[in-house]
């Protein structure tokens, strides 16, 4: 046991790699939240009147709501008046090309391993870089535009494609959906917008990279992806933040809209700063993600690798409205030290012959708490709906917890639903087998965890799979159950 403890201690001391802070001049709003702040944000972004009205409506609704207390996480009260709701890297004019981007900014992204310069040369991934919830650069715009694909920052979309934004914003996550969605709707500063026209298969991975930099700010970005009939898009999202002693709030909203025969694949590698080994600091990641398979034969697939954040609280969901639509959810959530995660999915079956699949893998170490919370709902009209859910938890160390809270509601007799869940630790026999073959204990654990998560990691686009695998190895360095 002493060796285990030692190794576990070693694990808990592994440092967060992306904890540096960039010295970028920021343009911020004063602390606090009121209608004036919302007007300030709106006017900063030169938004049309309807957008401001929409924000104010959300804000007024937010005032009537109470912060939800049902998740299996605990944290001190958030003072919403002590947050800066708008912070943007100072840039005088919008950059026309990447060369005009603030060098300090570019350096930041280079440090993160996302070289915007390089991206120009490498084909494969188009990146929208978002720092403190304002989009600073989007690569490959022109090339995508040739195909009719719109990929730009949210504020740009509001200016240039107001009809699309107006039509779809809030159509999946309405302003009154929940506490944090309402807050986001009121103060969201930027985000990514993506539209894939009819019949177009997006030739490259679209990607957004989120970075919180300024202190005391909250990050409130909003992503909207619309896949028109018969189109396909694969979208990636990554995030990091500097190390700070105080907690920062990240309340994003992601909306996906899939028309007939469209397919959206949304992958996340979430690596916000998780706080130090005593549980001090870290990001509160309270995100609302939802997609609607509005058209027949459409498909939405969520893949997430959650390793960061002090508290993760999100449920990427699918509303399967179109007949024959498919929803998928693949998740690996790793918690260490004092991290808390309450994550899962909702699959709402409305259409006929809809199918969904849930694979959730939780790994908890240190003093962390890891919960899966999911809902599978089969409505009356959803003939022949099919669901399979699998959620496994792996425990490392005797001070952590793993919890499963699935909700299964069936109102149709042709539905077929299966749910299974297991909780265990890494088997001593598995470790022994590896040791016997000359693989040391650390590598053995990495090997076993990797194998355990393989089913999910396989779903990630290649560029991300490598990163995610490394991230996993790093987070669990030296841990033996």
């Amino acid at each position: 046991m002493s060796k285990d403890t030692e190794i576990l201690e070693e694990l808990t001391s592994s440092e967060y790699k992306y904890g540096f802070e960039s010295n970028i001049e920021a343009d911020s709003a004063p602390k606090g939240l009121n209608e004036d702040i919302i007007r300030f944000i709106s006017s900063k972004k030169n938004e049309p009147e309807w957008m401001l009205e929409w924000r104010l409506k959300a804000y007024r609704h937010w005032l009537t709501l109470k912060e939800p207390k049902w998740p299996n996480v605990s944290y001190p009260e958030i003072n919403y008046q002590d947050i800066i709701y708008y912070s943007a890297p100072k840039q005088k004019v919008a950059p026309k090309s990447l060369d005009e981007v603030d060098p300090e900014l570019r350096e930041t992204f280079e440090k993160l391993g996302i070289s915007l310069d390089e991206q120009k040369r490498l084909t494969g991934v188009a990146v929208d870089a978002v720092i403190d919830s304002v989009s600073v650069a989007t690569t490959f715009k022109d090339k995508l535009a040739e195909l009719g694909i719109i990929f730009c920052s949210f504020s740009e979309a509001v200016q240039e494609h107001p009809e699309l934004v107006k039509k779809y914003i809030g159509s999946v996550v309405p302003v009154n959906d929940n506490y944090f969605a309402a807050l986001n709707s009121a103060v969201f500063s930027d985000g990514s917008f993506c539209y894939i026209p009819k019949g177009v298969r997006c030739p490259m991975e679209l990607s957004t990279y989120f970075r919180i930099n300024a202190a005391n700010t909250g990050q409130f970005e909003r992503t909207l992806i619309i896949a028109d009939e018969g189109s396909y898009v694969s979208y990636l999202e990554g995030c990091t933040a500097p190390m700070r002693d105080e907690n920062q709030l990240h309340a994003a909203v992601v909306e996906l809209y899939a028309c007939d025969h469209a397919e959206i694949k949304y992958s996340t590698v979430q690596n916000w700063y998780p706080g130090d080994k005593d549980g001090k600091g870290g990001i509160y990641n309270f995100v609302t993600k939802r997609g609607i398979c509005a058209g027949d034969h459409s498909k939405i697939s969520w893949t997430q690798v959650e390793t960061g954040s002090a508290i993760t609280w999100k449920y990427p969901s699918c509303i399967l409205k179109g007949d024959h639509s498919v929803g998928e959810f693949y998740s690996v959530a790793v918690t260490n030290n004092w991290q808390q995660a309450d994550t899962g999915t909702k699959m709402i079956h409305l259409g006929k012959n809809t199918r969904s699949r849930i694979v959730s893998k939780g790994v908890s170490a240190g003093q962390s708490q890891n919960s899966y919370r999911g809902l599978v709902q089969i409505h009356k009209r959803a003939k022949n709906a099919r669901n399979h859910s699998q959620c496994d938890s792996l425990l490392m160390g005797d001070k952590c917890g793993a919890h499963t809270f699935p909700y299964i509601e069936t109102s149709n007799n042709s539905a077929q639903i299966e749910h299974e869940a297991t909780t265990s630790k890494i088997g001593e026999d598995q470790i022994f087998y590896c040791l016997q073959r000359g693989i040391d204990e650390e590598s053995a654990v990495a090997l076993i965890v990797n194998g355990y998560c393989k089913e999910v990691l396989n779903q990630l686009p290649m560029e991300f799979a490598v990163e995610a695998q490394k991230l996993l190895a790093l987070t669990l360095e030296g841990s033996v159950g």
């Binding site: 425990l395 001070k399 793993a402 499963t404 299964i408 749910h419 297991t422």
Partner: protein, 444 residues
């Protein structure tokens, strides 16, 4: 019971009625026992009647259903006269057992059949048990069923007056099963039946206990029962809860089990009849090497609503629990299953399994299941599974190709599906009895 107006505030109503109840106790309100009742009504005041937002009653709109059906006027409890002949009709035929009969929650000495020759077995009414040995009963009463968590447990505790008291001495093997017939006689005007049972099984003892809930009469009747069962070291208890008779019954039952080291507790819950049934089964495994097997079966039709809530609390290492609940739902019925396995940090080497399987027969039936795992220890093996589906077409085809009619083939397959849940029923006569009622149900 008269038809209720929708406007009554049940919560207020019950609290007020406690005042009347208290007066009727005639000066006995200074006892410790009554202090517990008072605490319970205060808990109830705080908890309130559950509504949609109450997580544990999310799928069971119990307050609304009760309000619709009942006018909870307080009437002085008395035992309505039921003839011995009428009672014998309701008994499980051919079962040689110690029979306890509770009519509307009151112990009936004349209808019960308790020729106890066995030394060390005590079966009496709860009231006299408390009066004759207040220290013993007081040290167990309301110590396990937590009235500060569940409003119905609080209500039962507050109004607790009568019921069954069973004590099995250390090292005693009870020769015959003990059956508690809890009869809700709805023809008499009675606002609610709240029996309270306390069962204490001593070290190395063994017993089979059957709680048979029967609804008699045409009017609706509401039963709110609490049973506390203490299984001491190395004891072995088989426990059955039957809800087979009476379509117009509204039942809320809370079975609280406490297990000491190396003890075994097997339970089978059968719900066939009743408009609304809510079974809470809480098992606490408070020492090493305990074993709990929990089986359940619900066959529903028409507008029935059955809600099974189970909670297994593993507190110490090396224990085992296994749970299997099966449901067949037809008509407009609704089934709810909420199972929770809770493994505390100390409870290393726990093995806990849970499974809930359902078949939906009609378009209007629905099932909501919530199997949960909450694990705070690492060296455990825990799993749960839940499925919802329908009869396999190929199996049906196979049977039909061998000359069985469609109805027959369906019944056979459903029977095969259901019968798994009877694995723990060890008394042959009882098994036949249950089996018989299942068959009637499936052939209907």
């Amino acid at each position: 019971m008269t038809v209720a107006s929708n406007s009554i505030d049940l919560h207020k109503n019950f609290v007020e009625q406690f005042g009347i109840f208290e007066k009727e106790l005639n000066g006995k309100s200074l006892t410790d026992f009554h202090q517990t009742r008072k605490k319970a009504i205060r808990s109830f005041e705080q908890l309130g009647m559950p509504d949609r937002k109450t997580e544990n009653y999310k799928y069971t709109p119990i307050t609304r259903l009760l309000k619709k059906q009942f006018n909870f006027d307080y009437a002085s409890p008395g035992i309505p006269a039921i003839s011995k002949a009428a009672i014998s009709e309701l008994l499980i035929k051919g079962l040689d057992a110690y029979n306890v009969v509770l009519i509307n929650g009151r112990f009936s000495q004349e209808l019960s059949n308790l020729d106890i020759t066995l030394k060390g077995l005590e079966i009496t009414d709860f009231k006299s048990a408390y009066e004759s040995q207040p220290d013993l009963v007081g040290s167990y009463f309301a110590k396990y069923a937590e009235f500060d968590k569940d409003p119905f447990t609080a209500l039962n505790t507050a109004f607790s007056l009568d019921g069954t008291f069973i004590k099995v001495k250390d090292n005693l093997v009870v020769d015959k099963p003990i059956v508690i017939y809890s009869i809700a006689e709805s023809t008499a005007a009675n606002w609610a039946v709240q029996p309270r049972n306390l069962i204490i099984a001593g070290k190395n003892s063994q017993a089979s206990i059957i709680e048979n809930y029967i609804h008699h009469g045409n009017e609706a009747a509401f039963t709110n029962t609490v049973s506390e069962i203490i299984v001491d070291e190395n004891a072995y208890i088989d426990y059955y809860k039957l809800e087979i008779h009476g379509d117009n019954a509204y039942h809320v039952g809370n079975t609280q089990v406490y297990q000491a080291g190396k003890s075994t507790f097997n339970t089978t819950t059968i719900s066939l009849a009743g408009s609304l049934i809510r079974n809470n089964l809480n098992v606490v495994l408070d020492d090493e090497h305990c074993e709990a097997n929990m089986h359940g079966l619900y066959l529903l039709n028409d507008r029935q609503h059955v809600d099974n809530q189970t909670m297994v609390d593993h507190r110490k290492p090396h224990s085992y629990s296994n749970e299997l609940y099966k449901g067949i739902l037809g008509g407009n019925s609704t089934g709810v299953f909420n199972g929770k396995i809770y493994v505390r940090q100390d409870a290393q080497k726990t093995n806990a399994f849970q499974s809930n399987k359902n078949i939906l027969l009609s378009d209007e039936a629905s099932i909501n299941t919530k199997p949960q795992l909450e694990i705070w220890a690492d060296d455990v093996k825990c799993s749960h599974g839940a499925t919802t589906g329908q009869l396999d077409k190929e199996q049906l085809f196979y049977l039909r190709s061998r000359g069985l009619g469609e109805q027959e083939a369906r019944s056979l397959l459903l029977y095969a599906f259901a019968i798994d849940a009877l694995e723990n029923v060890k008394i042959d006569v009882l098994k036949e009895y249950i089996d018989h009622h299942i068959s009637i149900r499936l052939n209907r």
